[in-house]
């Protein structure tokens, strides 16, 4: 019984740390001065938050077929998020959006 409670406690801790990273990405996307830094903040911390929360859920569920699908979701997310972030920033750079330090005016 102790092992069962330990696993549930560990999954709760993982989920809480995941929520913390989601809040960090919310702060990042609000406070960052420029598009590039915002996109970096959101893209990176989303993936990590997703990893932790899905890991916590996998621990809580125990071993089932669903766990394989949840791991698949996470692998897909960890491939998708950086890709979209990169594509976005390249499109922004191509369309002439200057990064923050180069615009003497600073934040809009």
């Amino acid at each position: 019984m102790i092992a069962g409670q330990a696993v549930t406690a560990l999954s709760i801790v993982l989920i809480l740390v995941g929520v913390f990273f989601h809040f960090a990405s919310a702060i990042g996307i609000l406070r960052m001065p420029d598009f590039y830094t915002r996109c970096h903040a959101a893209g990176v911390m989303d993936t990590l938050g997703a990893l932790l929360i899905l890991g916590g859920i996998v621990l809580y569920i125990g071993w089932q077929l669903v766990v394989v699908k949840i791991v698949l979701i996470f692998v897909f997310l960890s491939i998708v998020n950086p890709t979209v972030c990169h594509a976005l920033q390249r499109a922004a750079l191509r369309s002439g959006l200057k990064p923050w330090p180069e615009r003497r005016g600073g934040a809009e």
């Binding site: 929520v19 609000l30 997703a50 191509r94 959006l97």
Partner: protein
């Protein structure tokens, strides 16, 4: 335990509010795409949590997989359009 998942889902929806604010206010159109893409990722996580609450995880996980692919395709399509229209300008 269900209440804990509900609390986590509500916390995530609070985070989504900041993304909605960024999507609305975002000075450049790329900020809006970032906001919407992040909302999509949050929706995936919340879907899995809701699936846990209803004890029918396998159905919701399939929905999440479909939505993740949809989110990718739409984000890349918008990015490709923005890149092309910027080049024409």
């Amino acid at each position: 335990m269900n209440r804990f998942f509900l609390a986590v889902a509500l916390a995530l929806s609070a985070v989504v509010l900041t993304y909605i604010y960024r999507a609305i206010k975002g000075p450049t159109v790329f900020d809006r795409v970032v906001g919407l893409n992040s909302i999509g990722t949050k929706a995936i996580i919340m879907l899995v949590l809701v699936g846990l609450m209803y004890q029918r995880v396998d159905m919701f996980v399939d929905i999440c997989l479909g939505y993740a692919v949809l989110n990718l395709v739409s984000a890349l399509a918008v990015t490709k359009y923005l890149e092309r229209s910027a080049a024409r300008k």
